[in-house]
């Protein structure tokens, strides 16, 4: 009797799995990834970007960032540049939104000027690097449509391979293919396809560590542009959570005194 119930429930369960379309499964993975990365509250980071041109010549940027999680919408973030020295103290404030245009302000310390800037250049390079503004902005479920492709192995780890299609305006991409680690629900690799549907860039994320016993963050990101031969390494030097930030720390007043 018990066996029959078990059999019945197995049938019911697998039936549900088979009824799920590739789109539904892709969305379910994105929702689960989002759920696992919720309630981190706020974080402070220090990082270093190493830009390489096609000849291999390097230049570096040192950046400090603060971010505040906003429930039900994109996050707020403040980024301060320490090097190169000529832009030291330049700061970038951003309120990201899921589908509505982001709000962005730039602080120019030499002029003491806060400039509201257009957020339309989503595909533009961030600080001359191979990361674009849309690559570094907060990832929200509603920003994409999803499609599960297959279960696979990547570098010996179990992954979901899925595609996602940007739904927000002005994206430079038609498609992204992501290799999502099944244990962490974090991407190990993402391929970016440009507006002409050809492969533009590949991002790989390395050396994940767990913070606050829950949140996985990579120590190193490598972005390679296949069309220009340029690449950028992003090294996260520190992550600090529970800083007690409020939205007051992410307004135009705090932008003006960001150092």
């Amino acid at each position: 009797m018990k066996g029959i119930i078990l059999l019945f429930s197995l049938v019911a369960f697998s039936g549900a799995v088979f009824a799920e379309t590739a789109e539904e499964k892709g969305l379910a993975i994105a929702v689960e990834a989002d759920k696992r990365d919720q309630s981190w509250g706020d974080q402070a980071t220090t990082s270093k970007m190493i830009l390489r041109n096609s000849q291999g010549a390097e230049s570096t940027r040192e950046i400090r960032g603060k971010a505040l999680e906003v429930k039900g919408d994109g996050d707020k973030s403040l980024i301060i540049f320490d090097t190169p020295r000529d832009i030291k103290g330049t700061a970038f404030l951003s309120f990201t939104h899921t589908l509505k245009a982001d709000e962005q302000w730039l602080y120019l310390p030499a002029l003491k000027r806060v400039k509201r800037i257009s957020s339309s250049n989503k595909s533009g390079p961030f600080m001359g690097s191979e990361f674009s503004y849309e690559d570094i902005s907060s990832q929200e479920v509603a920003k994409y449509k999803y499609k599960f492709i297959k279960d696979d192995k990547y570098n010996g780890r179990d992954v979901f391979v899925m595609e996602r299609y940007p739904q927000y305006k002005k994206s430079g991409y038609t498609k992204q293919v992501a290799w999502i680690d099944k244990e962490m629900y974090q991407p190990l690799k993402i391929e970016f396809y440009d507006r002409k549907k050809s492969l533009l860039k590949t991002l790989t994320e390395h050396d994940y560590k767990k913070y606050l016993n829950k949140y996985w963050r990579p120590d190193r990101l490598e972005m390679v542009n296949h069309q220009t031969g340029k690449s950028t390494t992003l090294l996260w030097k520190s992550y600090k959570f529970k800083n007690g930030y409020k939205s007051r720390d992410f307004d135009r007043n705090s932008l003006k005194r960001a150092r």
Binding site: D86, V114, N121, S123, G124, G128, R248, R257
Partner: protein, 396 residues
């Protein structure tokens, strides 16, 4: 005593990481393609400037001190050889307010061609003719931060006089300005206490600022009769009148469009007038599938006093083209022209910059005065002062 010593050690060692020096030193070379109107002027000017910055913060970033002295040496222009304290101020951050005491620079406004609303700091005119460089202003500034916007109160206890080129400098009036003998409407002269108030807020796509200023105008009138300066040379004196100015600055950010408006009502010398700058900036991002952006800037400059205005920009159109390469060297180029709608005068400008390596930056600038008629009393004296300059700056 031991406690005091521990405290002292903590004070000295704890925030030491936040005690930092930075700044830049720059070499500049400016060349004029025509002789000046006066034989005392030169065609080539070399110059060196230095601007160190010291910053110290404590109290978990809630308090800080900053000090930014500035000094320039100019080969020929003894008035351009000058020093200033750009910043020497203390900041205290509270939950819903911020207090700043000391010498500082404040910027208000949104426009590119001229800054009508921006009246707190005096222009350091010998630094740059475009009025973008400012002298440090002593002030007490208290900002109240509310959900409905930020209200800034300013008390400005000391007045800074505008700098002007010497007899040997270029871009000056035929008779030089006698900065040692300025005339003031207020008997308190430089000690007249000025007040200002500003409300600023961001509402969706809109950024708005409303301001009011009561005090000595930063823009001097120039005396119409010549007098002798301290060296016995004929010269003109700057006259600083008291004014009240109400200003509005507004920007609507609609996708790649930035719509801008600055408008002021200024009451000075028993008169009241309106001036405005209105226009837009539109950016074409990632042109020709490259990382480059091209921005188009257009602004209309208006002053209802017309030809009686104390500015050459009373009915003018500014058009600009901004190219940003978005490369690792942050290369950019801005080409602009301000054209008078009533005569042939055209003021062209080119500004460009790029980083070299990690610590150097190259700046180029050129300004051309074309078709300036003798009726244009502001630009006519500069008709032979078209120039180009190169600056190489080292950042530390």
């Amino acid at each position: 005593m031991k406690n005091n010593l521990t405290l002292l050690l903590l004070l000295c060692s704890g925030p030491l990481w936040a005690n930092e020096w930075s700044g830049n030193i720059a070499l500049e070379y400016k060349s004029f393609n025509q002789d000046g109107l006066s034989s005392s002027q030169f065609n080539q000017y070399g110059s060196v400037s230095v601007q160190p910055e010291w910053f110290h913060e404590w109290d978990n970033g809630k308090q800080s001190l900053s000090f930014v002295p500035f000094s320039r040496w100019d080969q020929h222009d003894e008035k351009r050889t000058h020093s200033d304290i750009r910043e020497l101020s203390w900041l205290k951050v509270f939950d819903e307010s911020e207090l700043r005491v000391g010498v500082r620079k404040v910027f208000w406004g949104v426009a590119e061609s001229q800054h009508l609303v921006d009246v707190i700091n005096q222009t350091d005119l010998v630094e740059s003719m475009d009025g973008e460089e400012k002298l440090g202003q002593p002030m007490i500034n208290y900002a109240l931060i509310n959900d409905w916007g930020t209200v800034d109160f300013f008390v400005l206890p000391y007045f800074r006089e505008r700098t002007f080129p010497s007899v040997n400098g270029r871009l000056r009036t035929p008779l030089h300005i006698d900065t040692d003998n300025a005339i003031y409407e207020s008997s308190d002269k430089q000690n007249h206490v000025d007040y200002a108030l500003r409300w600023s807020h961001s509402l969706g796509d809109w950024d708005i600022g409303l301001s009011h200023f009561n005090g000595t105008s930063r823009d001097p009138a120039i005396s119409t009769t010549a007098t002798l300066d301290n060296n016995g040379a004929l010269s003109l004196r700057p006259i600083y009148y008291l004014m009240q100015q109400t200003g509005l600055d507004l920007q609507a950010t609609k996708a790649a469009w930035l719509w801008k408006l600055e408008a002021i009502n200024r009451r000075i010398k028993g008169e009241s007038y309106i001036a405005a700058t209105a226009g837009f900036e539109y950016t074409f991002y990632s042109i020709f599938e490259s990382a480059s952006d091209i921005g188009l800037v257009m602004e209309y400059l208006y002053d209802d006093r017309g030809t009686k205005a104390l500015t050459p920009f009373e009915d003018d159109l500014m058009m600009g083209l901004r190219w940003t390469n978005n490369d690792e060297n942050n290369s950019s180029l801005l080409f602009g022209v301000i054209a008078d709608r009533n005569d042939s005068s055209r003021l062209y400008s080119i500004e460009g910059s790029r980083r070299i390596g990690e610590s150097w930056k190259l700046n180029i600038e050129a300004r051309l005065f074309e078709g300036v008629p003798s009726s244009d009393k502001f630009l006519y004296p500069f008709r032979q002062d078209s120039f180009a300059q190169v600056e190489l700056a080292y950042y530390f």
